[in-house]
Amino acid sequence: MNGKLTAELSLPLRRSHAGRQMLHNRAMMLGMSLLGIIVLLALFGPIIVPNDPLTVQMGDRLLSPSWQYPLGTDHLGRCIFTRLVIGAQLTLGISAIVIVTVIVLGVPLGLISGYIGGRFDSIIMRLVDGMGALPEFIFAIAFAGFLGPSLPNLIFAIVLVKWIGYARVVRSVALSEREKEYVLAAKVAGCSTWTILRRHLLPQMISPVVVLAALDIGKIIMIISMLSYLGLGAQPPTPEWGAMLNDGRPYFQSAPQLMIYPGLAIMAIVIACNLLGEGLREALDVRSR
């Protein structure tokens, strides 16, 4: 009773603040549902798609949308819708692998570097400064150039650069947290370094890492599709969205559906990730770095 009363009393004061939160939540909800739909499509893709993504049927080239081909067919008679759905699987799968790898690499390195410091820290920082100055696309070009254009090489190049952001963020949090009283108290209480890292510092890293990851997924998807469009990533006939755009480029004038849908798919997924990331940043109150 009493609690309800105070809640009611404080309501009008909070309204504008709540309104802003709602707006952000709405954007975040939109991003989340969009991403959810894409993830569901990717998960159940093989069940729902009407056709095979790779079967070439020269008789069905460049068809308009129909019941059999919901978005029409490409220049080799393949179902565009099917290829998009399977492409979603590929895109999401790759970015998930990349994100997990960079977190597994970057978080422990940053944690140890920040908490323990010393020579290990200075080596890591040198590396972070050196590598961090270079964009991933340079490595992507170098890898594709020397080892040949392929999806695994592209993934390797992205991982090589992306772990740095995580190491950097985690290190700076660890640096500021390790001087705080609760860490000192844990130390005095006889917790081992490992326990302090795992039980006390690691939880502090979750919010910034989650926000960074959400925003990074969009960037990773973008760079994969971009380099695949250039022919440096996924190779035809893989139904990767960027590669699909590259593949169908000569037919754009007569069959714009080859260009519209893969691009829209990339944009939708990147918008979803950006909305989610920004929303999370707001909600978890993580400063942008």
């Binding site: 050196g130 270079l134 964009p135 150039g145 971009m226 469009y229 022919g231 260009m259 950006n274």
Partner: protein, 314 residues
Amino acid sequence: MLQLIKKRLIQLVFVLFILSLVIFILMKLAPGDPVLTLLHADEMSITQADEAALREELGFDQPVLVQYGKWMLGLIRLDLGTSYLKGRPVLDELLDKLPATIQLTASGLAVMVAIALPLGLIASRYPNRWPDHVSRILALVGASIPSFWMGLLLIYLFSLKLGWLPTSGKGSFAHMILPSITLGFAMAAVYARLLRSGLLDSLSQDYIKAARARGLAERRILMGHALRAALLPVITVFGVSFGNLLAGSVVIETLFAWPGLGSLALEAIFERDYPIIQGYVLATGLFVVVVNLLVDLSYSLLDPRIRLGKGASS
């Protein structure tokens, strides 16, 4: 100040060292024997002796560390080797294509500023009103639209359907319009938002109130006082994302058949012209680090506290 430059120069050397190491390792890992490639390129009958001679000439019979040392010495003397494909020194090839890339990047940046500056100013003038919302949505779209796709849409609309502008190539001013817009738009959205938040931040500072109390015109306060403070975060992000700009220029050069460094590199990748790839990667790395150095210098230009050694920046 000098300290800062020194630190950056050390970083520059270190970055180039890492990059050279990566390239060297990749070269060694690269499939196919460059000696055979070279010989085949000449389309002569190859004898064992020819091959051995060339191996010796290229120093491939020596230990790896010696090879690396020699290669590094070459790099320091700006000897980037010779293009397999064209038989010209790599440096000449790069210098030939550099102006086109600079032209594209510069005009892309001009488009970026032309969109971002007014958009950011308007959004900061009417925070959380409709101009701000429009700029927010534009920023989301700009940050999420793949630049190559946007380029394709622009080509489709303005070149193929309307026939107003050329689809590709370099030459007249009309050739520059679509590539510049494609390159500039995606960046503009992000910078407009940065500018907005920077301006809102600096406009709420007490020194702005003081400037108003002195009776300065609002325009003057905005352009002379608030904007300058708001530029710091913008420039920081510019330094960090300059690499993305170069990446974008590769895509756009390819898309519009613009004969710059990016097109050169891409062609080299498909033709396995390793010296060119190596030269391109090193040159790009150098650009990125140099731009970051310039960014640091421009900080101190904008904020005398950094220049005059009072470290704090607000």
